[in-house]
Point group: C2
Amino acid sequence: MKLSTKGRYAVMALADIAKFDGERPVSLRDISLRQGISLLYLEQIFSMLKKNQIVTSVRGSNGGYKLTKSPEQIKISNIFSAVQENIKTVGCKKESKKGCNGKSAKCITHNLWDELELHINEFFNKKNLSDLVKGKNENRV
Amino acid sequence: MKLSTKGRYAVMALADIAKFDGERPVSLRDISLRQGISLLYLEQIFSMLKKNQIVTSVRGSNGGYKLTKSPEQIKISNIFSAVQENIKTVGCKKESKKGCNGKSAKCITHNLWDELELHINEFFNKKNLSDLVKGKNENRV
DNA sequence: TATAAACTTGACTATTTTAGTATGGTATAT
DNA sequence: ATATACCATACTAAAATAGTCAAGTTTATA
Ligand code: FES
Ligand code: FES
């Protein structure tokens, strides 16, 4: 079980914007250089973030992206669902009455994985962007 | 982020043994039929479980596998580490002083992922096999 | 003692997911 | 004008996952 780069980079990039936020929008080029993420990959990610109203864009020279809300209002769970990074712990389709492996009933472990998923989602709901930017004085980039 | 079948099946199969535990060892063939998991795949998984002393084996006809400890004593985290299903939330090497993407310092999101990993591992440390088998009266297989 | 059930080991492979690239645009500040 | 920066779609290489295959060894039981 590994967290994919898409979700991690999305949070990383948005935290970068939150940190360097000001009058002017932040360009992907700057984020790319500061965070060491491919520019082309960032464009792909930000296309999704924009579609889901996490950011707005300013085109043209000196353009870039801005957060639509204050960092406190942007939860990690919002970011993750925007880039379609979702946690799947169960082996079955959740809504379906059927279990995994085509069995007719939910398997013996189903509740365990379900509970885990709940735990993780709770964590992502509690955390927001400002939690990441708070320690501006620390030597993190 | 998806939980792999290796970890899920391992827990599933061990819960099956816990449930049908008795004098005789439980054969992989029975587990395969009851849980709908490929016999060949189960063999691979149980080879690891045995190496890590989660189960003992009885060879030959009427043989099979038995738990080495009581279900209460077998934590999900034990099972996961036995089959090498480990959670990776961070993008960097944990021990290294370096951050992800070859940066010299830990990135702005590092602590967040680290905290998440801690949460998940806590969950797996709290849960054991007997938690799964308790509800024998429910209509789960 | 023949036989079948069941564990043991290592290598192999197909599928899926991830993590990007590549290409060819459009909009706008200077 | 032109460079900067967003926008959109398609493609691809690499890694991880989810198994399969082959060739055994061991032992209960008929
Ligand atoms: S995980 Fe849902 S039925 Fe097995
Ligand atoms: S996750 Fe550890 S440095 Fe980025």
